[in-house]
């Protein structure tokens, strides 16, 4: 009896909670279709007149394509580099037990916890003449993402039977061939997990571009929001439209790959 009343009640409670939870996003979506006068009034959720031109107006802004390009460059290179470096390193940390290997692995694990020291990192980049460059920013992003990637990949490779390597070795395969033709193809699921998690993190990140890029021509899409707000301070409809465009790539990826994303998160977190 308790169960029969309980279920619809629970569903109702969740529906109310979900509505409030979704409210800020709803406000953004509906707001992006309002006229500028309606949007700055803050008093009605539903647009009286639907204005579909807001997105076109935002997209015609001069710097948005440049920022989009910057975001794509920074995300793709930092993800690719992290994947390659972590896969290669984890092949050895998972398979070989030497004092050096366990020392290196410990050093990476420590980086899961320790915060980035911003000012000394800026100074290091300046010393390497990499401050305010994409290369410098990408390398810092890689350095801060390596600990989790190495942790994830090492755990995964440990689950691949060692006998695979050994039989390949007996067949005359060298290290490179064992890695490329046996291990790497099996890494596909963790490569997908790491790529999605990192894309969300890097695409949305504010602090790294803020600290390590001071030239606003190099800013990523989310950073451009600041410029945009000061330029269109009275046009909340355009601000909302801009926010949707900033979020769209990652949200679309999340909706499309939700199953993968969620299962990756689950296995990464709980098996660790």
């Amino acid at each position: 009896m308790r169960k029969r009343i309980g279920k619809p009640l629970l569903e109702l409670a969740l529906a109310v909670a979900a509505f409030f939870y979704f409210f800020p996003v709803l406000m953004m979506i509906l707001g992006s279709f309002k006229s500028s006068m309606e949007a700055s009034a803050f008093d009605r959720l539903w647009p009286e007149v639907w204005e579909f031109g807001n997105f076109r107006q935002v997209l015609s802004g001069e710097r948005i394509l440049q920022s989009l390009r910057n975001s794509v460059i920074i995300s793709s290179f930092s993800i690719a580099l992290t994947l390659v470096l972590a896969a290669v390193a984890s092949f050895v940390t998972a398979r070989r037990q030497s004092r050096f290997v366990s020392g290196v692995y410990f050093l990476f694990i420590a980086g899961l916890v320790a915060p980035l020291m911003y000012i000394p990192t800026i100074k290091t980049l300046q010393f390497l003449s990499l401050m305010n460059t994409f290369t410098g920013l990408i390398l810092v992003v890689v350095a801060t993402n390596l600990p989790f990637a190495v942790f994830l990949f090492t755990g995964f490779i440990k689950g691949i039977p060692r006998e695979l390597d050994e039989s390949a070795f007996v067949d005359g395969f060298g290290t490179m061939r064992i890695f490329w033709s046996i291990i790497l193809p099996l890494l596909a699921p963790v490569i997908a997990t790491q790529s999605i998690l990192m894309l969300v993190g890097v695409w949305n990140d504010l602090s790294m571009p803020l600290f390590f890029l001071n030239d606003s021509g190099k800013w990523t899409l989310p950073m451009l929001v600041y410029n945009f707000i000061s330029q269109y301070v009275r046009n909340w409809n355009l601000v909302y439209a801009f926010l949707i465009l900033v979020s769209l790539p990652v949200v679309a990826l999340f909706i499309a790959g939700q199953k993968h994303f969620v299962s990756g998160l689950m296995s990464g977190a709980v098996k660790g």
Binding site: K7, L10, E11, L14, A15, A18, Y21, F23, P24, V25, M27, F42, D43, V88, A89, F91, V92, T93, R96, Q97, F100, V104, G111, V113, A114, P115, L116, M117, Y118, I119, P120, T121, T124, L139, V142, A143, T144, L146, P147, D165, E166, T175, V200, N204, L206, S207, L210, F211, P222, Y226, W236, V246, S247, V250, V251, F254, L265, S267, A269, V270
Partner: protein
Amino acid sequence: MNARRLYPHFFLYPALLIYLALFIFPTLFSFIYSFTDWNAYRDTIRFTGLDNFVKIAKNADLMLSIGNTVLFAVVTSIGKNVLGMLLAVALCSRIGFKRLFRTVFFLPTVLSFIVVGVLFTALLHPDGFLNQFLGFIGLEGLRQEWLVDRSVVMYTVSFVDVWKGTGFHMIIFMAGLLAIPRDYGEAAQIDGANPLQEFFRIKLPLMMQAVSVNVVLSLIAGFKVFEQVFVLTNGGPGYASSVLNSIAFQMFGDGRWGLGTAMNLILFLLITSFSILLLTYFKRKEVDI
């Protein structure tokens, strides 16, 4: 088989090189430079012992930012984990629309803080939706200047972060719950356990691993707070909502690098000591299924 030949150390070098140069080296660097008067206005750097830390201890604003960081980490960890656990339990029971609910609660996790910041600046505006809603349901008395009032601003920022982060912890709790064999719960029900007893006596102890991952991750993320404050209040009004990282950012801008690094080092010590304490505590509590 020759492990030395098959798994050569040089495979580690490229990753290690970047990691050492841009993470480990700056960290070690900060241990030294926290004890100097390193700044933008002089070429020479002098050791000043504990001067920076004495300065911090004597400065009420800086001490407030340390307190705010700890407050934020604790409040958001409790909020995210309690709410995340409630949602996970609800979404793991036999209800409809599971995927829709899961998507809605998880969605904020993939938004940028700048998006979250702008949306909540609008919602929490003195004439914004939240205050209008409170007036509408007859709770005029609860209306606040959410981002302006010194006594509430830190809780407002924490609330926004809980909104954004709960979905992530919910997913991890769901994984923990789904890993528990179904017959454990059934056996408890046959023995006459009520749902609360079943949760606290059976499920919670069996999902300690998910709990420990969640608590440690949320606390570490909470201590590292920066963007949340940066997008909502930029530390204001005054220093009322500043945190360790926002002060470090400000000190960098002011050219007071030694002092800024010392603030960053305090953050480092807070995070590592809390993590070590928690990890040893949870190690003892975990149960293998």
